[in-house]
Symmetry: D2
């Protein structure tokens, strides 16, 4: 675990991907001992569900879950891992808010890793939850 990437190093890695740069994720916490990362996802005009609503479309929320979940494993493994599959459940609308995204590794095995991702609005209300499996081999 002495090799785990820091928050600043994760931030630098995110920039390698044009899509992730577009998401504009900001790493706010990287806790390798607990295999947990936290990022902020700011709202963008392109992410709006209905014109004028200020509400996040579910699509970019799913994309954020996929990405932040991956980086919970990147922190200790050191490279991006292909997503095998993931599930997202939408719990509440997210309106005029940045998202706080917390990803925790539930199991890091030799061939797959499983990560839980909680997405909250600025008031701390749970907006969506994700569960993703990545190839670690």
């Amino acid at each position: 675990m002495s090799e785990a990437l820091t928050a600043a190093e994760l931030q630098e890695r995110l920039a390698h991907s044009p899509f992730i740069r577009f998401l504009g994720l900001v790493v706010t916490e990287a806790e390798p001992a607990e295999q947990r990362v936290t990022m902020i996802a700011p709202m963008r005009p392109e992410f709006e569900r209905i014109a004028g609503s200020g509400q996040w479309h579910g699509g970019p929320i799913a994309a954020v879950i996929d990405t932040v979940g991956d980086y919970a494993l990147v922190m200790t493994i050191g490279r991006p891992l292909p997503t095998i599959n993931f599930r997202v459940d939408y719990l509440r609308p997210a309106v005029n808010t940045a998202l706080t995204v917390i990803a925790c590794v539930r199991r890091q095995g030799r061939s797959v890793g499983v990560v839980d991702v909680d997405v909250m609005d600025a008031k701390g209300a749970l907006v969506a939850i994700g569960r993703a499996t990545y190839a670690t081999a």
Copy 2:
């Protein structure tokens, strides 16, 4: 079913959402009798996984699945439905290609609808598959 929306009407509806406009989806088929819609999703520079790779990031693929699945129900119900949850499985990389996305309703119930979504590259190879549940009440 006489009220089902046509491909042109679905195309017009898609434009109400800034995020879906950003996706740039083009409706190519709307079959209300089979509850199936087909759309094309063009590649955009913002969707690239790694700079210079030409590969779709999984995030926008998930967003496309969520959206096209919804419109398979919109076709007969006439309004966008909130996503309850969905799963996406990634089967192959999609590189330098538009995506063909086919969504089929498996069950349209009073409270929920379930839709399967297949995503193919320009050669017809299966890139990803989605299964989504929407609130129909």
Copy 3:
């Protein structure tokens, strides 16, 4: 919440279902304030994966997740709810052990409820995790 069912009442309700009786679940904790229930699932010869292995087959683990998840909502709603869908991830084999199953409600909405379920072996190792959606309307 004053109407929440107690552990003894949940135990009594479980017996209404021949399948749940067959599972042999024992309620060990019911915490309505935290919307969390804990049950023990004993091993049965019929649940063995390979003859002589002592290992749980994944099928009964999935069935346990579906059931205990439901009862986390039953505790406060007072009646069994139809499962809309669920996902189960298998993390480790469970061998010669009873299972401890903890179900926590993540969101109880007007039309659906979402519950997370953790399954542990007798040593506390995480064996499987489930995420289930039930119809609450």
Copy 4:
């Protein structure tokens, strides 16, 4: 593919597992060219949801999906594969009926295989659908 197991061989393999024997699955079709297997799952008193209802509990339906999905890959790979995860969606109650279960491989990769499973009652109505990922490495 010349090595693919026949329906009779699959039937024999099923008997190695006490749990699968308990399910009582009968292989009715094995199509290696299409990577599709069909099995019948008879009702048992232990599978009843509510006493006297004749309705299948969702738990054994999930177990059947996990098992039949696995054997769609066993047919060509020749050995049972660990389930990584699966999702089941319940579409209609199954009452006083055997289940017909059709599993189709969507992708057989080097490390994982993905299988879709449709479950029908005796009248051909769709009761539940599953999507499962197995470790093929």
